[in-house]
């Protein structure tokens, strides 16, 4: 896909400056709430007007402040899935889907029938949105969006208002939908799990600024920036001193580390995700002597807050360890050392 965005917008003391270009069919914008990610998505759809900048969708300029171009949302052919689906409450399922139809009048009825079948809404045509389950509502919203054959679809935090079981079911439905969908998708979310699951490419947004963008897995492996690492859910960081091309001294963990990546002079932090730490019994390279500061119990994992046993000072390290059973004693399996695998160490600026 080709969506090019370079926009600026000021509102209520907050300024948004987003600049990115997507090159894969599924792109995500990951940011905390208030980072301006929804504003960016709304600007692409034309619901919100940026103060300055340019937006190009598939080669068509839909917004350009210098050339005074600002296409109406109606003319952008962009599908938008709202967080609460924004189904029209006074219309039936059939009427809702019909609202998205663009084209010849005589084909309308047949096409609506087709979409009702395709989105498994048979028998619900005459129901109103309030009489539908969450999953059915999502399917109506998708059908209503897709019947107009949009060039790009935009999903605005589609799962953040849901919880537990329903969320899992709707994510599965969405995945099936996206597998069949051949066009381009862009999704806004504050959940790193959703971003990882649905988006091949990712743009990280913090306080209205684009941090970094790129391939999702590469970004999770090597976020390159401290802020980016935090946004993707990493909790363990230390300041570093460079020793040579592949060795650093981690100041806050009080230990020497060997890295896979070459250490550049601009790198001043190192980080590692809590799931990658390995318990070992013998002292060796990249091994941290363990002292448990605190223990927290997750549903399916133990969470230990660990410090270097040799020193009082320094940062804690979160270590996540999967449970074998609910009964096991969390302190029984505590090792003497934790191994920080060089391939999972992230050098950060």
């Amino acid at each position: 896909m080709a969506v090019y965005v370079d926009i600026e917008k000021n509102f209520r003391g907050f300024s948004l400056k987003a600049k990115f270009e997507s090159s894969s069919p599924t792109m995500g914008i990951l940011g905390a709430s208030g980072s301006g990610k929804s504003m960016t998505l709304r600007s692409i759809a034309g619901i919100e007007t940026p103060d300055r900048g340019k937006i190009i969708i598939n080669g068509k300029t839909v917004f350009d402040s210098e050339k005074k171009i600002n296409l109406k949302p109606q003319e952008r052919h962009v599908g938008y899935l709202f967080q609460n689906y924004a189904l029209f409450p006074t219309m039936t399922v059939r009427e809702n889907i019909g609202c998205g139809f663009r084209g010849e009048k005589k084909e309308k009825a047949a096409k609506i029938d087709d979409f009702i079948k395709r989105y498994r809404l048979d028998g619900l045509e005459k129901r109103y949105p309030s009489q539908l389950s969450g999953g059915q509502q999502q399917r109506v919203a998708l059908a209503r969006m897709m019947i107009g054959e949009p060039e790009v679809i935009l999903l605005d935090e589609p799962f953040s208002a849901l919880d537990g079981y329903l969320k899992d079911v709707l994510q599965k439905d969405m995945q099936e939908f996206l597998e069949e969908y051949s066009g381009d998708m862009m999704m806004v979310t504050h959940s790193r799990d959703e971003a990882f699951r649905f988006c091949r490419e990712l743009m990280l947004l913090k306080e209205g600024r684009t941090l970094i963008s790129g391939n999702t897995r590469e970004l999770f492996e090597q976020p390159q920036l401290l802020d980016a690492a935090q946004l993707t859910g990493c909790k363990n960081f230390s300041r570093i001193e460079r020793l040579d091309d592949y060795h650093v001294w981690a100041l806050d963990w009080d230990m020497q580390l060997r890295t896979m990546q070459k250490v550049s002079r601009e790198d001043n932090y190192i980080g590692i995700r809590g799931h990658w730490l390995k318990p070992v019994s013998k002292k060796g390279e990249n091994c941290l002597p363990v002292r448990i500061e605190e223990y927290m119990e997750g549903t399916f994992e133990h969470q230990y807050l660990v410090k270097n046993a040799r020193s009082e000072e320094g940062n804690v390290i979160w270590w996540m360890k999967a449970k074998e059973s609910f009964e096991e004693d969390p302190y029984e399996g505590v090792p003497q050392y934790l191994y920080l695998p060089p391939e999972h160490l992230m050098l950060l600026k």
Binding site: R42, G46, I47, F82, A86, F88
Partner: protein
Amino acid sequence: MREFLQEINWSPLWISLKTGVVATVIAFFLGIFCARQAMKLKAGAKAVLDGILTLPLVLPPTVAGFILLMIFSLRRPFGAFLMENFDIKIVQTWKGCIIAAAVIAFPLMYRNARAAFEQVDVNLIYAGRTLGMSESHIFWRIIVPAAAPGIASGTVLAFARALGEYGATSMLAGNILGKTRTVSVAIASETAAGNYVTAAFWVCVIVSISFVIVALINIISGKGMKTRRWI
């Protein structure tokens, strides 16, 4: 009693009802139109427009009547202009009744419609736009139906107000039996003439109609809401 009912001139009731219906139709469309325009304004301009459009509700009706008289009097430019070019006379005619009632009833319609529009989720509008629907389609097919209970109660209130209008009507349209004498004007003039029985009869009529209207509002606006009692 039967004699009294046979002798009474029913024209004030019909004039009141006719005036009420026509004035409500005018207030309905004008109120919705103004509410829609107000929703597009920024906060400051909205407050000013809102204040102006609500004035007829808070001013004494005689003030509204005075202003209307100043506009439509045949001795004033606009009134003379209407008379000369279109042969339209507002003062002391049934048209005057309608205009007076519509002006007084308008703010009720406008305010209720605006309050109802404010309750409508803006994402519905945005959704309509991204789906390619035209603005008027979005307004009449999505927003108005979603705001229907508020609009309906505004309409009923406007009708009730138009039906009972006295102050502005008596100043602009006067008190001509069979032409501009509405029920409320009749009550005033019968009382002034000492015909308490006739006045009381009209009072009963207007009280019963008003009660039915208020009950109707409660039924309309209570629809879809949770009926929870305070115990």
